[in-house]
């Protein structure tokens, strides 16, 4: 982001900045994080910002919010090249590059209706990533394999 564009979204005091989201996917990232009208977080969003790396990108800033590991792993499925910066007192305390993990636990539901992980049993869904590009993952319970659009379709 150039200095000019940074100014388009105000700096935040505490919270997270998710950068390098593929253009048009910011809303999806927010819905994944359950950040919306009723969540009480202040959100700044920049869509189709010029990017040095690849054409255009989206940027999301969420005040007073942290992200869990499981949330990061799912964001990585939508935005595999995203970075997450943790802001404290206007400073970047930590910056992380996202990458699709070997295992995706929780959040995603198994697309197989007949899978035991979709019941009230005390387990989280769990998928082993078999391929990242294109995304292919196997449910640890029903052992079925799903492509990215099948897995993310229900989000």
């Amino acid at each position: 982001m150039t200095e000019d564009q940074t100014l388009k979204i105000s700096k935040i005091k505490e919270g997270i900045v998710i950068d390098h989201i593929p253009a048009g996917k910011a809303i999806k990232v927010l819905s994944l994080l359950n950040v919306g009208e009723h969540s009480g977080h202040t959100v700044s969003l920049a869509m189709r910002v010029k990017s040095k790396k690849r054409g255009f990108k989206d940027v999301v800033k969420i005040e007073n919010r942290n992200v869990a590991e499981s949330e990061l792993s799912v964001i990585s499925l939508i935005a595999p090249e995203a970075t997450v910066s943790y802001i404290e007192n206007y400073n970047i305390k930590e910056k992380r590059m996202l990458s699709i993990p070997d295992q995706i636990t929780g959040i995603l539901k198994c697309p197989n209706q007949n899978c035991i992980s979709n019941t009230k049993e005390p387990v989280q869904s769990s998928f082993r990533v078999l391929s990242r590009e294109p995304l292919l993952a196997r449910c640890e319970y029903c052992e079925r394999e799903f492509r990215g659009n099948e897995l993310l379709g229900k989000l």
Partner: protein
């Protein structure tokens, strides 16, 4: 080694384990025929949890454990007991863990046996979950092929019938692919093998997906016929229109090799005509009889009995 390990899918059983099970099953067969008292698993207890009826499989497991000198406890009618009170499978398994040394489970939902294995330190044996895996049936099928034809590797195996919902064929296909079998899959188009399974076999084995029996089984060593499971259909008309769309009779037999075999997991509906039963190639009753010695071998391996 499968000692103290759960058998949820056929992948949980290595090639060496399989060979050990085959050898042990042969010994069990001899022991049964000798009529001697067997006390390999004396004072050990097996718990059977059948969340859907399958008398054949349950009796085979229970008979195997009794033959080994062990005891069996079972939840008489899962539908009227804890399940209807809303107990999770996880909690039921924790209870079974306290009462037994090995747990055998059959469940309508896919992945149930894997889930069960996460809530107990005792080995769990999957006796079928949803349209997923049924590994002991697969081991029994492999054992039958080996016993009947002397080997498994490189054979030409044709699977016929309901390849979409038929749980027994799914794990069998995966297992056969490891033996470099030349596999033909014949089914009505609506009952074809699921894409994800075909994907898993990948290029491990040669696989042909076909629509008709005719002209496709002349070189087949093993013709494995499956039943159409009525309970898998929501529309009874669909079931009626499919049943009998493939059937093995004397005409089909005629087109097969002399030293081939016909298998079926039983019970059959209309897939194999009774006239076929007289032919020496009809191996399905011998296959069923292999269930007890094979399960004896599996249970005693898992519990470290032999």
């Amino acid at each position: 080694m499968i000692k103290n390990r759960s058998i949820v899918t056929i992948d949980d059983v290595g090639d060496d384990d399989l060979n050990e099970i085959f050898t042990a099953a042969e010994e069990m067969d001899k022991l049964i025929k000798s009529g001697k008292k067997i006390s390999i698993l004396e004072s050990r207890i097996m718990c059977t949890l059948f969340y859907e009826p399958s008398t054949r499989t349950r009796l085979s497991f229970e008979s195997a454990m009794h033959r080994l000198g062990g005891g069996v406890i079972t939840m008489a009618d899962v539908k009227t007991s804890s399940v209807s009170k809303g107990e999770t499978l996880a909690d039921t398994i924790r209870m079974a863990d306290a009462y037994s040394d090995v747990i055998v489970i059959r469940h309508p939902l896919e992945g149930a046996a894997r889930l069960a294995s996460r809530f107990t330190s005792k080995p769990v044996i999957n006796a079928g979950d949803g349209s997923g895996q049924h590994p002991t049936q697969t081991i029994m099928d492999l054992y039958t092929i080996r016993k009947e034809l002397g080997k498994i590797r490189g054979l030409k195996v044709t699977l016929l019938g309901d390849l979409k919902y038929g749980r027994t064929v799914h794990s069998l296909i995966l297992a056969l692919s490891k033996y470099d079998a030349k596999i033909k899959l014949i089914s009505p188009p609506s009952l074809r093998i699921p894409e994800y399974l075909l994907h898993r076999i990948g290029d491990k084995s040669s696989v042909e997906v076909l629509d008709t029996l005719e002209g496709n089984i002349a070189d087949t060593d093993v013709l494995y016929v499956t039943r159409i499971q009525k309970e898998r259909f929501t529309d009874p008309n669909e079931y009626q229109s499919l049943i009998g769309s493939y059937s093995v009779n004397n005409n089909v037999l005629e087109s097969m090799k002399r030293n081939s075999i016909i298998m079926h997991p039983l019970p059959r509906v209309d897939e194999i005509a009774p006239e076929v039963d007289q032919d020496a190639r009809a191996a399905y009753f011998r296959q069923a009889a292999n269930g007890v010695p094979v399960r004896m071998a599996i249970i005693s391996k898992v519990l470290g009995g032999i």
